[in-house]
Symmetry: C2
Subunit: 460 residues, 2 copies
Amino acid sequence: MATNETPIETYITKHQEQFLEDLKAWLRIPSISTLPEHKADVKHAAEYAIGQLQRIGMSEATLIPTNGHPLVYSEWLKAPGKPTLLIYGHYDVQPVDPIELWESAPFDPTIRNGNIYARGSSDDKGQVMVIFKALETLMAVNDTLPINIKVLLEGEEEAGGESIAHYITTTPERLGCDAAFICDTHMPAADMPALITGLRGIIYTEVEVQGATQDLHSGSYGGVAPNPLHSLAIIISRLKDEDGHIHIPGLYDKVRKPHPQEQEFWEKDPLHIKEAYLREMGVNQLSGELEYPPLERTGGRPTLEVHGISGGFVGEGAKTVIPAVAKAKISLRLPPDLKSQEVFTLFEKTVHEVAPAGVTVNVINVHGGEGIIVSPDSAPIQAASAALAEVYGKPPVFLREGGSIPIAALFDAVLHVPVVLMGFGLPDDNLHAPNEKYALSQFFNGIRTVASFVQKLAQK
Amino acid sequence: MATNETPIETYITKHQEQFLEDLKAWLRIPSISTLPEHKADVKHAAEYAIGQLQRIGMSEATLIPTNGHPLVYSEWLKAPGKPTLLIYGHYDVQPVDPIELWESAPFDPTIRNGNIYARGSSDDKGQVMVIFKALETLMAVNDTLPINIKVLLEGEEEAGGESIAHYITTTPERLGCDAAFICDTHMPAADMPALITGLRGIIYTEVEVQGATQDLHSGSYGGVAPNPLHSLAIIISRLKDEDGHIHIPGLYDKVRKPHPQEQEFWEKDPLHIKEAYLREMGVNQLSGELEYPPLERTGGRPTLEVHGISGGFVGEGAKTVIPAVAKAKISLRLPPDLKSQEVFTLFEKTVHEVAPAGVTVNVINVHGGEGIIVSPDSAPIQAASAALAEVYGKPPVFLREGGSIPIAALFDAVLHVPVVLMGFGLPDDNLHAPNEKYALSQFFNGIRTVASFVQKLAQK
C-alpha cells in the first residue's frame, strides 16, 4: 500500500461508526419511488443526500426539480488540468412487499452477521454512501480532491428513470466529463472483484385484456363468457415456452454472437456461477434455455419474465368471479444489439397475433432502456481495475451483468465517454426482495477502492 | 285472482314502504363472509334475520353457533296434518371489489329506476326478505300459517358453506319436512317466470407454484430462474384451450347426454339467451365451446375458470421481480353426473402432469359441491308452478342454472324430499360484481308468489 494512503486508512477507521450511522439514517427514509404515497419520503431522501454532499465540502449541491422526483446535482471543479469524473447513483428504492417475509423491518436498518439489512442497503443507497464517504475521506485528509467531480443522483431508477433521461438529453453541456462512474452493480463474491463490461437493456410492458364490460359470476356465465385471465395465460404461454424460448418473430435476429473469449469464459464458468445460481435460488435445476451456458443466459440472451397478473379475486377464500379486465406486467431483458423501441414494436405485434378471440388487448410501453458494452482498454477502466487489485489483492474479472441500467446507455450515447461500472454488491444481497442487505466489509472496501480509483484517475 | 287473496294484496300495498325499509336496513350490514374483518357484521346480519322472524310470529328463532358463521333456525309447526316446508336462504354476501366501479356505495342501498342497488340485494338478502314478508303477510292476514314452516339460513354460502353442510348431515331429524324451498336463483326476464330443474356442482381450487426460495431480480436471474407466474400461465393454458375445451383426461366421460326435450329447448333457444348473453356481457361474440348451444354450455357442460392470480407485483409502476411463489384460484362447474371429489382428483393429477419442470406444484381443494336434477312432476314443484302462473299470468319455463347451490344437492341427498328452486333475480342483477341490484317489481311479485305457493301447498 502506498504510504500516502495511511491517513486515508486512519480516517476511515476512525469514522467507521459515523459512516454507518449516516447510512442508517438514509436507509430509514422509505423512498419508494413507484408508490405515490411515498413522494415526500423520496424528496426527503434527496435532501439527505444534499446534506452529505455539503458535509464533504462540494462547491455546490442542489435539488433539481423534475416532473417526477427531483435530481440531486453536485460539483467540485477546483482541479484545473485534471480529469472530470461524473458519478451516478440513485436514492430511490424498490417497494417492500411481501413485507411479512422481512426478518427485520425494511426501513429499520439492522446489523446482523456482518451485514446491514434494509431496503436500499445494496440497491443503491449503500453504494452511493460508499462514494460520499470516499470523497469525504479524500477531502478531509488532503483538504482538496485530486480530480474534478460531478455527482448526479436520481430518485426514479426503480420507476423508469424518465426525469434523468430528459435532463441528460436536454442538458448534456452541464454534465461534460472525461469519464462516468456508475456504482450500482455487484461482484460475484466478496473475494472476487469485478468490473461490468456489458449490461442488458429492457422493455417493461403492461398487457391489458378486456372481456365483458363488467365482472361476471362463473356460475351464470361460465361457458359463454370471455375470461381475460385465461386469455392472458394463453398469451403468456405463447410468448415464452417452458424451455425459455421466446416466440416473438424477429427477436433473435439481431442478437450478436458473443466474442470468442466471452464465449469461452461463459462455457468454462470458472466462477462456478451455475452452482451459485442453484444455491442462491434454492432450486435443484436451472430454468431457461438449457442449451446456453448460465452466464450467457443472464448476460447475453434476451429473456422474458412475467412480474404480476392482476384482475379478479386473490383474497382469502373463494370468489367465483370472471373479471372484466386482467393485466399482466411483462418485461424483456435485451442484449446490447437489441434496441428497446424496436423490440417493443415486435412484442406488441406478437401479443395481438397470439391473443385468443373474443377479448380486446392493449399493450402499454411502461418504459425501456438500452444495453451497453464497455471497452476494458480505456484509461478510466484501467484505473478502476488497478484500484480493485490494490484493495482486494487480485485483479478484477470482466463480466456482463443481466440487469438493466439505462443510464449507462444514455451516458454512452449522449456524453460519449467511457462508463465505469464498478459496484460492491454481492449476489445474495436480495435486491428487489425481502431482507435486502449490504455486506459491511464491502461497504468499507468500497470506500477504499473508490478513494483509490479517484486518486489513480488524477495520475493518468 | 281468488277472492281470499284480496286481504293479502291490501296488506302488501299498505306495508310496501316498511318492507323496503326492512330490506335496506339488512343490506346496510356488510356481511362479507370470506373476509375475517367482517366476522362481527356477519353475526349482526344473522341477528337482524332473527328479529324479522320474531316479527312474523314464528314459534322459535335461534342463532345456532358453528365453527364458522352462525346458522339461523326458525320454526312454526302449528298446522297439524299439513305439510312441512323447509325454507333455505343465506344472509352473507360477496366481497365488493373493485369498489371504484360502484355507482353508489355497496352498503348504502339506493333505489334507482325501479331497482334497489346494494351488495346482497339479489344474492341473497333480497330473496330471503321476499320469504320473510310473504310469511309476515300470511300470518298478519290469517293470524296463522296454512302449513308448517321451518327456516334455515346460513352465513357461509359465499365461503364454501361448510357449517350448514355439517349441520344438515349431523342433524337431519330436526330438518324433517315434505319439501325444501331454495330462493337463490333467477328468471330469464321479469315477464318470464322460471323454475330451476338442474344446477351445476363445483370444485374450487387453489394451485400454488413455488420456484426459488425467495423473490428474485429479473435482471440478475432472468434466464436461469424458474418463474412461478409463467409456470401457472402454462398450466392454465394446458387445462383449457381457447375454444373452451377442458383437457382433463376422463372429465367428459360421465357427462350425461341431455334429455331430448332439453336438447331441443337448448338448440331452439326460444328465450333468445344467446342475444341476452351478448347484451349482458357487452361483447360481440360468445366464448367457450361454440359447437354447443349457449344454454347447454352454461347449464349442461363442465366449465373451467380462473378467478385470480397472485404473486409478484401488481401495484402502480414497474417492479422487475420474479416471485418465489404464485397462486391461481381455479374452479370447475360440473353437470350433475360429475361428482366433485372425483373431479378434484382428476384435476389435481392433470395439474401435476402438465406443470413445467423446475417448480413445485401444490393443488388445494378449497371447497366442492354437487349438482342436482329435480323432477318437475312432484307436488311442490306443481304448486310453485301454479303460484308463478297466477302472479305472472303465464306458466314458468323449466331451466337448468349454471350456478352451484351445493345446499340443493345436500337437501336432495340427506332429506330425500323434492327441492323447489324458485327465485326472483334477473340476469342483469350483477351478482358477485359491482352495482348488484334487485328489481322492486320482482321483490313484490316474489312476495305474492311465495304467499300463493305456501297456500297452494296446504291444498295438496
